[in-house]
Symmetry: C2
Subunit: 575 residues, 2 copies
Amino acid sequence: MAKFIRIDMGTRTAEIGACPEKYAGLAGRGLTSMFIADEVKPTCHPLGKYNKLVFAPGFLTGTSAVNSGRISCGAKSPLTGGIKESNSGGSFSQKMARLDIKALVFEGLPADGKYAVVKVDKDGVTFDEAPAEIVGAGNYDAIKVLQDKYGPKVGVALIGPAGEMKLSAANISFADPEGNIRSAGRGGLGAVMGSKGIKAVIIDDAGASAVPIARPEEFKSAAKRFANALTTHPVTGQGLPKYGTNVLVNILNEAGGLPTENFRRGRNEWANNIGGETMAATIEERGGKTTHGCHAGCVIRCSQHYVDKQGKYITSGFEYETIWALGADAAIDDLDAIAYADREYDEVGIDSIETSVAVAVAMDAGVIPWGDAKAALDLIRQIRQGTPLGRILGCGAAAVGQMYGLTRVPVVKNQAIPAYDPRAVKGVGLTYATTPMGADHTAGYAVATNILRVGGFVDPLGKEGQVELSRNLQIATAAVDSTGMCLFIAFAILDIPDGFNALVDMINARYDLSLTGDDVTALGKTILKAELDFNRRAGFTSAHDRLPEFFEEPCPPHNTVWDFTDEEIDSVLAF
Amino acid sequence: MAKFIRIDMGTRTAEIGACPEKYAGLAGRGLTSMFIADEVKPTCHPLGKYNKLVFAPGFLTGTSAVNSGRISCGAKSPLTGGIKESNSGGSFSQKMARLDIKALVFEGLPADGKYAVVKVDKDGVTFDEAPAEIVGAGNYDAIKVLQDKYGPKVGVALIGPAGEMKLSAANISFADPEGNIRSAGRGGLGAVMGSKGIKAVIIDDAGASAVPIARPEEFKSAAKRFANALTTHPVTGQGLPKYGTNVLVNILNEAGGLPTENFRRGRNEWANNIGGETMAATIEERGGKTTHGCHAGCVIRCSQHYVDKQGKYITSGFEYETIWALGADAAIDDLDAIAYADREYDEVGIDSIETSVAVAVAMDAGVIPWGDAKAALDLIRQIRQGTPLGRILGCGAAAVGQMYGLTRVPVVKNQAIPAYDPRAVKGVGLTYATTPMGADHTAGYAVATNILRVGGFVDPLGKEGQVELSRNLQIATAAVDSTGMCLFIAFAILDIPDGFNALVDMINARYDLSLTGDDVTALGKTILKAELDFNRRAGFTSAHDRLPEFFEEPCPPHNTVWDFTDEEIDSVLAF
């Protein structure tokens, strides 16, 4: 029977119970969001005793379904003040699923202010003091110490120095199968983990049985059809494996939607120097890996090992959004410098999007010069040092904007707007404005249909069709985020109907259900409604669903402006 | 005919028109709040082009009515994100009134990023570049430079370095009749002034006629009765003139409501060292002034000249709330050190309450040691230097709390809670929670009835009667803030009915009206409703009307907790 584990960090005790009936039909984001909406006081301080942190694998996690190893983390966000689900790769989720743990809930605050390592295995939950050498240390070293102590194959969730300092953009880091780093990046959930005195959570699935499948033959057949959809779709079968997500730099630059110099324009002259094609060629020339999965069973393999000139590993999971933010938004025309910054973000445990956008805002404020790679790296390293400037940066773009008195601060609900200009990719602009998560491209990735022509085509520069596009993608995403699947499967299932059917079939076969596509839509709506309701009780209104006023300025080269009316924006999630 | 002046800082042009009909019956806070609610886009960036800054004298300003010289400043607040009225003494308001200017409105943003001095006199409005020596300079020197240039008697409103840096707690400073400094302190309106490129506004009333009085004999008689009430009431006639507002330190300490060490307890052992009695004795011994008015015509004279051991002026307007915040909340047992800090706040132009509470939060975070006067002064001086830490401090208590990951952050709507613990003076706690201004004791000073037994008595430690008390005081205050009167007149008019009647009679005689006490109440309600409606449109809900959760902890010595239900809190302004 699926376990539901509540851990009180005040008493360092665990209560291992059966999953409550109301959460039995939920997983991933569906479970984390319904739980937070049920149990967390919406007006609470995100770092205080009333907040809770919950981890949940998806419906299909732990099975042989490809790309199903994502872990959902949920809490009230210290960055946005609203509900937050942030998910990540790594091996944590699959091990949780194999231990048949539906959710791990962390409550309370530590009595002594010390950091614990919480270990979960088939025998239960144990608490150790965090080894002194990992407190304040970078995440790469900390993972080594933890895997030396607890076993080389254990799943690890941990916070770095940013989470220890409870900075608003601190992430939760996860070890991937090679001991490198994956992140639940957005919304500062690492600060919540830090506030609860949790340095790391170890999942050891030794002795666990395989995940049970109710109708195994049906599952096997559906899993094959599903994998086939992923490997044959041009985005998931070719573009992402070959160039990683960074394939988008040149595409967005061409589309005029690559925000440059703190969102002053949507195209620049140096984009190809930092683009996916250049990156892949560089990695190949240096003997790194151009393709690599963040969790076992991934067939998209959009990760890579980015290496230095001597072929030495610098970073992996080197994403388009990070490269955009430093490479275009902060005008740093140097992939190596950006790779070292990405490494530092992983070491300190901080959101690479939020922090990089904050670097660009700091440049706009004159803190450091535009495009100065060395100054940017020095600035980013101040986070780990805990200097006042490092703390400002580590609290995100809005904090930099406030401390330096700027109005050109690209945030919604206090969270940085990512890599697609909302004036040139208007569908994703509606997602930024309305998602309960704060500005987040992954919450309803209209870039797919606006730019990549996946799932049809809606003109990125026009308003027509965008409300429905953002709405439908947000609903679908809330459901996909509940499956444990990587969101990139959406490219394939939007275009290949049998891919979507196979996904539903796998869930049905796993749990002996008979869900239809309509049930998936209904689930997505239920999740969004719960999230919106939490935010309403936390004090959010439609006034918070607005982009910053500087998006009224035309964005070159198309010179389009953000021109949705309040009524149009408010209709996106009115269902 | 009363003038209504709109000044566009983008074009540096002024439009001098008649006061619009809808504002003709308003003045002071009534005018500023109705205007902001009418004309400012509630979701705008406070430092952006859609915000407006308005100055307005009160109904009785410029007349011979005692204590009627306050100036109201209004805008959307950079600190709270809500509507803000902040008022001050000085000679600005009386000169505006004598020029028959109902309101001065500043709109737009400077085209060139330069600072202007805007001069207003009987001939109109002129614009000069700010003298280079005052940009970045302290306010005392800047006022000297400006009065040398524009005349020794002109009214001056100006911003210091904090306003130039657009820090969220920057105030607007006003020259008093001696060229010393008074402040519209709360809510960061100095940052709005800075964003509009206004270094100073000069009011020269040379050649202006006396303020017209419709029924002069009636006015004269009422003014006499009114002055009589102020001079005979024990608070306004004795306590405040003798000890200043700092008379409250020992009173609140005795009452167990003097927040000490970041609101950990309500009483301490050193209070008398920083109290009003000690302060008055020190000033007398050193040859300073124990009593002094902030504007011409003040009979309460609660200000003073605090001097050093050599008798040299350090500061004036040295208020209880500032002395409490550094002296008890930050545990600095040294009046001289607090006086130097107060001087620095005036020089840099920043809210002494917000910043001092922020100092205590920084001590709680371990940035500097508790009670370390030298470290605190060094920290405060970093604001002027523009260091990252200085900017964090200058953005207030909430910013310090966020950057250092604390939950013990005494703010409501992002504004610091002042000098009265809401667990031991529960009526004012309801005011903190519900006023549209963010935590503000002056918005409904229930301390009067809870502690000073003015206007009756309501037990400070109980809940009974507090909802009505806070409501009635908030309504009355909104009206009083429209008269140009110093709020301290409330002590007298709450206890002496003829004082209140005389106030209404003066307004009637001035404008040839026949208002009653009910009209005054109706005005107060109208103002509050407009302010609440602005905040609602800006995104505020009842979720923002909550005190921080740490007030659930018992507050020694009475060990009472903050125990109002949400429903009770929400009933305060439900009229």
